[in-house]
Symmetry: C2
Subunit: 140 residues, 2 copies
Amino acid sequence: MEYVHDIISALSKQGYRLTPQRLMVVSAIENSEDHISAEEIYSQVVVRYPNVNISTVYRTLELLKRLGLVTETDLGGGRVRYHPADKGHHHHLVCQECGAMIDLDESLLGPLQDALLREHNFIADLRHLAIHGRCVDCRR
Amino acid sequence: MEYVHDIISALSKQGYRLTPQRLMVVSAIENSEDHISAEEIYSQVVVRYPNVNISTVYRTLELLKRLGLVTETDLGGGRVRYHPADKGHHHHLVCQECGAMIDLDESLLGPLQDALLREHNFIADLRHLAIHGRCVDCRR
DNA sequence: TTGATAATTGCAAGTAGTTGCAGTTACAAT
DNA sequence: ATTGTAACTGCAACTACTTGCAATTATCAA
C-alpha cells in the first residue's frame, strides 16, 4: 500500500507518462493479495475504464518488467502471474499435481549460479525461475 | 538414424496407432540435425501429406513428450524446440543476447535437487530446464 | 492557458498453440 | 477379407499474447 507510489514515481522519474491506464494497472497489481494474472488485471481495469484494450495491459506489464518494478513468474500450463518486484522472493517451486506455489530462498541457487560461471563462463539470470515438481502433499 | 524405430516400436508396443502423420512427425524430428520447431516439423510433413493439420503435429509432440520419447526445450521468446529424448543432455543454457545454446551436464543440478528435497520436501523435475543468462561471448 | 510533439493507446490482424466435436481410419477379432 | 470400434485426425473456433499503424493525449515550453 506504500510502494504504489514507488512504482508510479519511478515511471515518472524516468520520463514515462502517467496515463490513467498505467495507474490502474499498477494499482491492480498492488492491491492483489498474491500473484495476479494479466486477464485479472484487465478485468479490474475495464470496470472503471471500459474501453481499455488488453494490449495496453500487456504493454504496461512489459514496461514494468523491463524497469524491474514487477516480476513475472511462469507457473507452467499457460499460467503467468505478476507481482511487485520489491516484495522479494523471486523464485518459486510449483507443484505439477496441485498447483501449489512455494516461495524459495535465493540462497539455494547461489551455488548453482557459481558453478555455471566457473564451468561455463555463463552469467545465469535466475531472477524469475520457476522450478516444477511435486510438493510434500502430492508425494506418494 | 537408428532410434527412429525405437520411437515407432515404443508407440506400437504401448498400443498407440502408427498413423502416417505420426510416422512423418517422428522422422522429421529424427532427421533434423539439431533441435527442431513445431512449425518446421509441420512444413516438412505437409510436403508429403498435404492435408495434415498443425494440430495433429502438436498432439503428436504432446504424446511423444508424455511418453518420454521426445524432449521439449523452451528457449524463451516463443522459441520452443524438440529433440529425441535419448540424445541425452536435457539441460540448456540459453544466451538472452545471441540465442546461443550450451548443453549442460546434469551433475551440476544434483546439489540443487538435493537441497530442495531436504529443505522443502519438494521433488524437483529438472529434466527440461532452460536457464537464461549471458554467454562468454556476450559478457561485457 | 494554449499548442506542439513524441509517447502512448485502441484497434485489427497476426502468431503459436489448444480444444470440442464430428468424421475417418488403424488395428484386432472374426 | 470384412467388420466393429476406439483411437486418431481435420476443422473451426478459441486462448493468450504480440505487433503495425493511425488516432489520441500527457507533458512541457511558451
